[in-house]
């Protein structure tokens, strides 16, 4: 055993977020008073921390630190940077939206931003971890603060229920996956990802190892909110403050997929074990979530089911590996590309919903009637993002990520997955379209007062503008998303 070498610069983005969390708490403590400025101080601190962390992202990949001999506990690869980019952009957008909602609902701001950044720092770690234990612990770091955040929606009775549901689901799935981890350790004698990939290449899966691997997928499916581990999502999203729902649907979900990529890459040779499981998850998720989403009337609930459905599409490239490992080569860029495009579109939708749901606890789709005529800025951008989620122009990135994803099962001949995805996409269009149609209907008198919108919601408008710009940029140059992994 050599002396551990620690290169803090490699870990700087992760550490910055953790420090930023503490700083937000302190700032809130020392900036006294009940004014708006003091409530926003912690939030502004958090935004600054995320910006600094983004600036500190490694310029070059393949760096390692926390090494003991050959084994390093923290490794930065292209995947790491890509996932961290999604996490940072997602967190920054959520923070901007939170500046509005925290102020509106008088949520204790120090705690709120502290918890949010703690969770985000865990999210930074998942794709940098080099062993299964760290991956699972990092997932827990992401999850635990979110339970408290869901419960922070004051004045909503369902808040506690949603938080509890998410908590119980999480505990159950984590327990199962740690059991799986124990089985794997017993079977392989290591929990490090690189040794595992070497070992599994040369050995056939033992029953115990295979069981362990399948059990680990449980916690991943929970984070990604894939059917049948999705049941917490609609209640939790609805109960949570709207920006937290956005966080769960983008950052937390990205963590799930980062973990999935880590596990799948390590166990690439055991494709016959995980590929059918992932394929089943993908098919179940696409079918079930899209059908249920058709019946939703609440805005956030619809978005919750939509984000479950989108998780199904992101699983498709892995599901396609059934036909042979060749599919895995093109699977990774497709998954990352979809995550990036989906993040921009979904954050955009949530930014509009944050602004539109100010002062309401329960926003129905019918409440958005005529939004496009009353506030073209909100209504048209929302329709634009919804078209992207449905996979239609003019938000071309939504179309391109679907093309890249469905190309994988087509090239490997996984036709069942292709057929399910085609049907799911058409079903999805039905509910996105119905939502969009409401925006353009003739306004009824029960809808928004114009004055109610846009007042002092500045930060959320900035978030919305940023996501609109990002979506347009990605639509003009889709390679930024589809080829992100190759560019890093």
């Amino acid at each position: 055993m050599g002396i551990q070498s620690v290169d803090l610069w490699v870990m700087a983005p992760t550490i910055t977020l953790a420090l930023g969390a503490l700083l937000a708490l302190l700032v809130d403590l020392f900036v006294a008073g009940a004014g708006k400025a003091s409530r926003s101080a912690a939030g502004v601190t958090a935004v600054v921390a995320v910006v600094v962390a983004t600036a500190l992202l490694p310029q070059s990949v393949d760096e390692v630190t926390l090494c003991a001999g050959q084994n390093c506990a923290y490794a930065v690869g292209a995947l790491t940077v890509a996932v961290q980019l999604v996490v940072l952009v997602g967190t920054a957008t959520v923070l901007l939206m939170s500046l509005v909602s925290v102020d509106d609902t008088r949520t204790p701001s120090g705690e709120y931003y502290f918890l949010l950044l703690c969770s985000a720092s865990g999210a930074m770690l998942v794709a940098a971890a080099t062993d299964l234990v760290t991956v699972l612990v990092a997932i827990e770091v992401v999850s635990l603060p979110t339970f408290a955040l869901i419960a922070m929606n004051r004045g909503d009775r369902r808040s506690g229920e949603g938080a509890l549901k998410a908590f119980l689901y999480s505990v159950a799935s984590v327990a199962v996956s740690f059991y799986g981890l124990a089985l794997l350790y017993g079977s392989l004698g290591t929990v490090s990802l690189v040794p595992i990939s070497l070992l599994t290449t040369n050995t056939n899966p033992t029953p115990i190892g295979a069981t362990g691997l399948v059990l680990i997928l449980a916690v991943i499916a929970f984070k990604a909110a894939a059917v049948p581990f999705h049941a917490w999502a609609p209640d939790a999203y609805e109960a949570a403050p709207v920006p937290i729902a956005a966080y769960l649907s983008v950052v937390s979900k990205a963590v799930g997929f980062a973990a999935l990529i880590q596990v799948v890459a390590a166990f690439a040779a055991w494709e016959q074990i995980w590929a059918p499981v992932v394929a089943a998850l993908a098919i179940l998720t696409m079918v079930f979530a899209n059908v249920i989403a058709l019946r939703q009337r609440g805005v956030v609930r619809l978005l919750a089911w939509s984000s479950v459905a989108q998780a199904g599409y992101i699983l498709v490239p892995f599901a396609a590996v059934v036909g042979g490992l060749a599919g895995a080569e093109s699977a990774l860029p497709a998954v990352i590309g979809y995550l990036v495009g989906y993040a921009a579109l979904n954050l955009g939708v949530f930014a509009v919903v944050t602004i539109a749901s100010r002062g309401r606890t329960d926003l129905r789709i019918a409440d958005m009637r005529g939004l496009a005529w009353q506030s073209p800025w909100l209504g048209l951008t929302l329709a634009f993002f919804l078209a992207g989620l449905a996979g239609l122009p003019p938000a071309l990135i939504g179309l391109f990520i679907k093309v890249q994803v469905i190309a994988v099962p087509i090239s490997t001949g996984a036709w069942i997955v292709v057929a399910v995805m085609v049907m799911a996409t058409v079903t999805g269009l039905a509910y996105y379209l119905r939502f969009a149609a409401v925006l353009f209907a003739r306004p009824s008198d029960a809808t928004f007062e114009r004055s109610e919108l846009g007042v002092s919601a500045g930060p959320a408008h900035v978030a919305l503008g940023a996501m609109l710009f990002l979506t347009i940029a990605l639509s003009v140059a889709p390679s930024l998303a589809l080829g992100l992994l190759d560019r890093l």
């Binding site: 179309l399 093309v403 469905i406 190309a407 049907m423 353009f440």
Partner: protein, 505 residues
Amino acid sequence: MSWDESALSLLVALPLLGALALLVAGRRADRWASGFAVAIQGAGLAVAMVLLGGFDTARSDEMQFVVDQRWVPELDLHFRLGIDGVSLPLVVLTSLLGFLGAVYTLRHLPATGRPRAFAGLLLLLQVGMLGTFVSLDLLLFFVFFEVVLIPMWFLIAFWGEGERRRAANVFILYTVLGSMVMLAGFLWVWSQTGTTDMVALATLGGAGMSSAVQLGAVLLIGLGLAVKAPMWPLHTWLPDAHTAAPTVGSVLLAGVLLKMGTYGLARIAIPILPEGFASVAPYLAALAVVGIVYGAFASYGQRDLKRLIAFSSVGHMGFVLFGLSTVDPIGVNAALFGNIAHGLITGLLFFIVGGIKERTQTTVIKDLPRGLYQKAPRLGFIFGFACIASLGLPGLAGFWGEFLALLGAYSPGVPERLLYRVLLVIAALGMVLTAAYFLRIMRRLGQGRPLGEPLADISPSEAASWLPLAALIVVLGIFPGLLFNLTAPTVDRWLAATSISAQGD
């Protein structure tokens, strides 16, 4: 960049920029939006005319005005545009109908109002339609194919009538199902050949793809395009969409959108998947002929004038599909001719029906006034003219496409000769039936004693948007060679590249 390289990009970008300008202009633009749309569409038509003038007819089987720019390397997607003798007429038709639609809208905005949004959506629609016809990359073709959906959905859902929301939803869901299946076919071709370049793929002529792959890909791609065309029994979205759509929407739907389906079959299925297309051709022929007969019977039974013309479209597009399915130079050229002719004639018919509806507030045949020839002689004349053109009178454009499709079926490029000859007879009967219901509706509306309220005759703006179509119907009817000379070299090249056409001779 030279003119040759930028002309097609300009053609597609013009309406896009126009739509964006209307988007950012804000509410005040409502006052000048319709005029602005006429200017943009007019400029587009001018570009199309310059393209027509600059097109080298001596090499009409080659792609001209080609632009090739890498766009998305991960998907091997190139921004690749070009036109040959097959796409040029469609580009001109689209630009013309778009312009005439804008002119018509100046005075005849649908009741919903909102001229800025209406004009912007028509411009977006134009982007997708033109883009589809000039794309030389499978995925780019798919992208433009999708671009038309949302504008058309809005046009039907918000500016339409009756059960417009349901009709719009059925239209878009049906088409997206088709286009997703088509996309699967495209990606399959890509995974097998490693390219999405339509010219390169046509040169390969199916090389690199096994018979099974070709058959599978042609089924997937063909299914998607058949929904759009529409082929019986996938046509069920069409009558409702037409009935609900506003006049200009109907004109473009019949005049251009349907052609995207048949154009795709001609451009992609025949040259790129020749073997696969040849094996499905007899089935396509059978379904096409069912569509012809079904369209005729259904039209005969309609009580609504708009629905009648919608069903007549099913029949006419059946002839186009039948022509394509012959895999014979005469038949395929006839199909491409029929495409244009149907666009002109049915476009005109929908314009006229829209005009009648504006006057009478109804399209239910029973409630429509009789004696159109006396009440409004010019309106009556042009209505009669369009009906006669649609039923395929020799000397007008509608004749050539259908007659030569039948001729092509006499010596098809596939072995099933007997089948085609039987189908030929049935299709010919369909032509007779078509004549029957058009003559009946002409007698019902045109003749008889003019009772009730007087009817306004053609207004100047109607004349301006209708007469160019009528003129072209006559010109193409008398000089069909104008079009055949453009399409024939390309068709020859497609069919020569396949061994199938030799088989049939």
